[in-house]
Structures are given as C-alpha cells and as structure tokens.
C-alpha cells in the first residue's frame, strides 16, 4: 500500500532520468538524511557514535570504492587495504608536512594520491585477468605494507609504528568531539555516495558494466578497455584512499600500517559480496552487517564467558563468522540488496498476492 508507484507519471525526460524516480524512495532517503543529521545526536550516545556509526560510515565508503571496481567493472581486487593505507599515510604526511593545508583538501589530495597508485596497480589488468589479477593485486597489498613498514620517511622519521594524527581544524573550528568527527565523516560519505550513484548511471558507469559483462565484446562496440579499466581503478582507489584517511583521522586517531592488512581487504570484499555486487545500497547493508556482526557475537559470547576461556571465544567467533558467510552465500548469493529488491516487489503488490 505504502510503496506503490501508481499515479507517478514520468512526463519529461528529466523525470525519466531522475536519480530516484520513485517518490517514496526520495522521501525515505530524505528521512534517513534528516535522522542521521538531527536525530543521531539526540538518540545515540558518544560511545555509539564513535564506536559504531563512524566506522560503519567509513567502511561503507571503502565498500563503495571496491564495489565500483569489483561489482561494476568486474575486476576482482584483494588489495583494497593497500589503497586505504596509501590514503591514510598520504593524509598523515600532508597534514604534518604542510600544516597550512585545509584538512578537507588533505583528504581529497590523499584520495588523489591513492588514485594514482591505483592506476599503477591496475595497469596490468589489460593483460592479466580474473584470479590471476586478484593475486597480482595481493602483490600491491604486501608491497605497500613493506614500504610503510621499512622506510621511515613516510612516518616522519619516527621509529614508532603507530602515528598519532594531528588535530583537524576547519575554518578555525577544531574537530574534537565524537559528534564533530561523525559530521565530518557523514558529509564526506553523503557527497561521495551521491557522486558514485551518479557515476555508475552515467556514460562511464555503463562502460564499466559493459567491461564487466564481457570485455572483448565491449571493446568491439567501441569502449576503450584501457581507459575504462584504469578509470575504475582510479575511482575505486580514490574512495579507498579517502576512507583510509578518514579511518586514521576520525576513527582511530592514528595511522598504523598494520591496521590495513590483508584481512581488511578481505573484510571489504565480504561487505560487497554480502551487501550485493553492483549495488550502492548493498555497500551500506554489507558494511552494517560486517560491522555489527562481531559486536553481536561478542555480546552473545560474553553471556557464556564465565565458564569459557577467552581464546575459545575468539576461535568460536572465527567459526561463527566464517559459517555465517557461507550460510549467507548459500541462502542469498546476490546479497542483501537483492533481498531488499524482492521485499520491494512484494510491497508493491501488498496486500494482494499478485
């Protein structure tokens, strides 16, 4: 009843090409935005904001980046952690070495540096494909970890592995509280999601999808594979880089190369698979799932923890996490986004069965 598009006519080309053509979608999106801007400080405690919401938003952004590369362009990548790491370290170095640079510009620049790195990593993708490319992106992961772990230039000559981030100041206002950080991250995520949503339904997004579906055929109909693949790598690693910088500056308040290891790359990959490949909404659903799941397992485990040793709990956590992933893939291989689609279809007809 509520979700029905009857009576909403598309009377112009503009209306036909609107980003959210259905009125209910627009309204619920605006409602979500209003809640996340005005509602969150009223409902959520600082602990919830800093501990759950900020990482959720940052992981969503990283997932959007990987989804552009893997979900939309079909290039399997196991090196997303490397892009995040490059972004985080670029942001740290820019902020420390050029203190007069505005912090927003620092984040964007570090995204651009990550994008350049992404193009370098992606350059073999014309020749190497599929799982071979996936293993090749692993090379980037290990190489970047090694670079930041070995050369002290990147850490400002400091021997300590964990670097505290400098304070962030925007127009004279110092970002300090959990809520400030949340708003900064939210602003980035909203703007970049909007850009991503528009990118994937524009000319370049369609080229990406053509390459994903079959790159030889796409080449035949006049899509430049080099340009298309590399642009996907660039955009994807830009998102990863900004997410990495935000992760360092707004979430953990420090930059540390061990925070972006291979398992981070796998985690982001899980997010987009569970959320849904080739879906922007799916990135958010997947990120929420992966961020919330360990918390749920932890609280569930702590209820029994009186008589269970701690290392067994952590092993059981691994087992439940792995088991749930397999379970999800069996039940809904197309991800939560597909589940949402079927729900929408049902809602359209409700209360009638057909």
């Amino acid at each position: 009843m509520l979700y029905r598009e009857s009576g909403q006519f598309k009377t112009s080309y503009q209306r036909d090409m609107a980003i959210f053509p259905i009125r209910q979608d627009r309204w619920s999106l605006i409602a979500v935005l209003i809640i996340s801007v005005f509602g969150v400080p009223l409902i959520a405690s600082d602990h919830v904001i800093a501990g759950y919401l900020v990482p959720f938003l940052i992981w969503s952004m990283a997932a959007v980046g990987l989804n552009i590369l893997t979900g939309y362009t079909g290039q399997l990548s196991l090196g997303h952690g490397a892009f995040m790491m490059v972004g985080a370290y670029s942001a740290y170095n820019l902020a420390v070495r050029i203190p007069e640079l505005p912090i927003v510009l620092v984040f964007i620049l570090s995204g651009l540096i990550a994008a350049i790195f992404g193009v370098l990593v992606g350059s073999p993708s014309l020749r190497i494909k599929g799982f071979y490319l996936a293993v090749a992106t692993l090379a980037a992961q290990f190489f970047v970890e090694w670079v930041f772990g070995t050369f002290s230039w990147f850490t400002g000559g400091m021997m300590s592995m964990v670097l505290d981030t400098p304070p962030m100041i925007i127009l004279g206002y110092r970002i300090s509280s959990a809520l400030d950080n949340y708003y900064l991250v939210l602003a980035f995520v909203v703007v970049m999601t909007l850009v991503a949503k528009n990118l994937v339904r524009s000319e370049i997004g369609r080229a990406w999808m053509a390459i994903r579906d079959m790159d030889v055929a796409a080449e035949v109909i006049g899509i430049r594979p080099l340009y298309t693949k590399l642009s996907a790598f660039a955009v994807s690693s830009f998102y990863g880089g900004v997410a990495g910088a935000l992760y360092g500056f707004c979430y953990v308040k420090s930059v540390d190369f061990t925070a972006f290891d291979l398992f981070v790359s796998l985690k982001v990959l899980f997010m987009i698979i569970i959320g849904g490949l080739g879906s922007i909404l799916g990135c958010y659903l997947g990120a929420a799932f992966i961020v919330i799941l360990p918390i749920l397992i932890n609280t569930w485990g702590s209820q029994f923890s009186q008589n269970v040793p701690a290392d067994l709990i952590s092993n059981l956590e691994h087992m439940i996490f792995g088991g749930l992933i397999i379970f999800f893939l069996i039940v809904e291989p197309h991800g939560l986004a597909r589940l949402w689609m079927t729900t929408k279809e049902k809602l359209r007809l409700w209360p009638f069965p057909h």
Binding site: L138, F142, L262, L269, E317, F321, G322, G323, I326
Partner: protein, 300 residues
Amino acid sequence: MTGFTFVIEVLIAGLLSGVMYSLVALGFVLIFKASGVFNFAQGAMVLFAALTFVRILEMGVNFWLAIAIALAVMIVMAIIIERVMLRPLVAQPVIILFMATIGLNYFLEGLAQAIWDAEVHGLEIGIPDVPWMAVLESTNILISLFDVWSAVICGVLVLVLAYFFQKGRIGRALRAVADDNQAAMSVGIPLQQIWAIVWAVAGMVALVAGAIWGQRLGVQFSISLVALKALPVLILGGFNSIAGAILGGLIIGASEKLAEVYLGPIIGGGIESWAAYFIAMLFLMVRPQGLFGEEIIERV
C-alpha cells in the same frame, strides 16, 4: 668459501625451498582443476591437517597410525565440505565460490584451534635437519638433508597424483570434470562424488605439506600463512597445471632467495613478502595464463 660455491648454495637452497612452496600450491591446483574454484582455505586446511596430526602423535599414538587417522579426518572433512558448502552452491559464479572458501578459511582456522589449541607444537617426522655430509665434504656446498628429503617426498607425491589423474576410472572422470563440469555431468559422471574425492586428495596433500612445514616452523597458526607464499607459485605456474606448480615453485624459490641475498641489502631487507609476487607478475606479463596454464581463449 669462494663466491661461486656461495651462489650455488643459495640457488640450491632456493630451489629446495621452492619445492616446499609447490607442495602447498599443489593443493590449490587440484581443486582448481576439478571445480574451477580458487580454494582460499588451502592454508587453513594445511593448519588443520598438521594440528590434527601433531596432536594425535602427542597422545602417544604410533606414527603410521597417526597418519592414517589424520588422513581419515581430512577425508571426512572433504565429504562434509562437499555436502554442506559446495552442493548448494553448484552453478553459482566463481566469485561466490571463492568467497565461500574465504568463509571456510575463517571457519577451519577457528575450528582447528578450538578443537586442538593455539600453542606451538614441535613436530618430528623422523627426517634429521642436518647438512648433507657427503656433498659438503666433496664440493664444500652446504645442503640440508631435510630439504632434500622433502623434495623427494614432493616428487613422489607429484608422480602419484599424475598417475592418479591419468589412469583408471576415477582419473578419467577427474579429467572429464576438469574439462567441463556440465558435459561431464551429462554423460553420467557423478560430479558431487568427484568433488568430494578431489577435496579429500587436496586434504591429503595439505597433510603432507603440513607435516613437512610443521617440522620446519613448528605447528602453529602461522603455518596457514604459508598458503600466501604459495599463491605466486600458483599464478606463475598456471592455476590448472600440476607441472606448473612444481616449476613455478622452483623458479620462485630460487629467484626469491637470490633476490633476498643480492637485492635485499640494497633496498632495505624484508623483501621476501612481495618479491615472489613481483617475479610472478613479470612472467604473467608475457604469459597471462601462467607458464603451463590452459590458454585463455576469449570469444564474443
């Protein structure tokens, strides 16, 4: 010691350590050949097999009986994996199967350490880790006898696997499945049974790899990370070639050791984490399907 014998020594040590990488890579190849699945959980399988083996040994069980029990455990595990995970995922895109094996990786790592424990266990499989005296005396080159033995074991394993894949009913069925899943099914080859067999064989290979790596490093969690060292071997040799896994291992092992000795001091050491990947990528630029991989033919 002259420079030349040093080079030879590094080269031989590299080649022999490469054989140990190929042991792990073999497990990947077997499963990829038969089902087109890139089995990320191979490292966890090595850990699981080695932990099972070492814990049964520690209970005071006879060496050969312990091997038999560990083998049985791996076979049961393969059947369970096929029943629970692979069967419902038939005909899904390969990336979904790949992700499922990553989930399996987490699950097995947790399971192995929950059933047994996360301690470091010393493992003694009866091969002494001493220099080969005969060679040392005659040519002054230091070769570990343990490395030589593991190379021999690996060679035997490859021969057995090659025979297993070529001859007999199961061998023919395996090759048919490797060639085309659907066509094999349509002529009446029980796909599910074949998959269970392949996973069981991969489990056996994991047990051998786990036992040998276990004596080298001690049986512990980090043994599962050996799989990451085997990945460059895998892409260099090609995902679906047993011979490729061996040759890839030799090339990676030798060049990695040489790079570490001669390049490492110049650019700051610790390069073994990525050097192998770079070497593999150089080869891939020339042959995108690996040295012995099936040529990728693309049709529109």
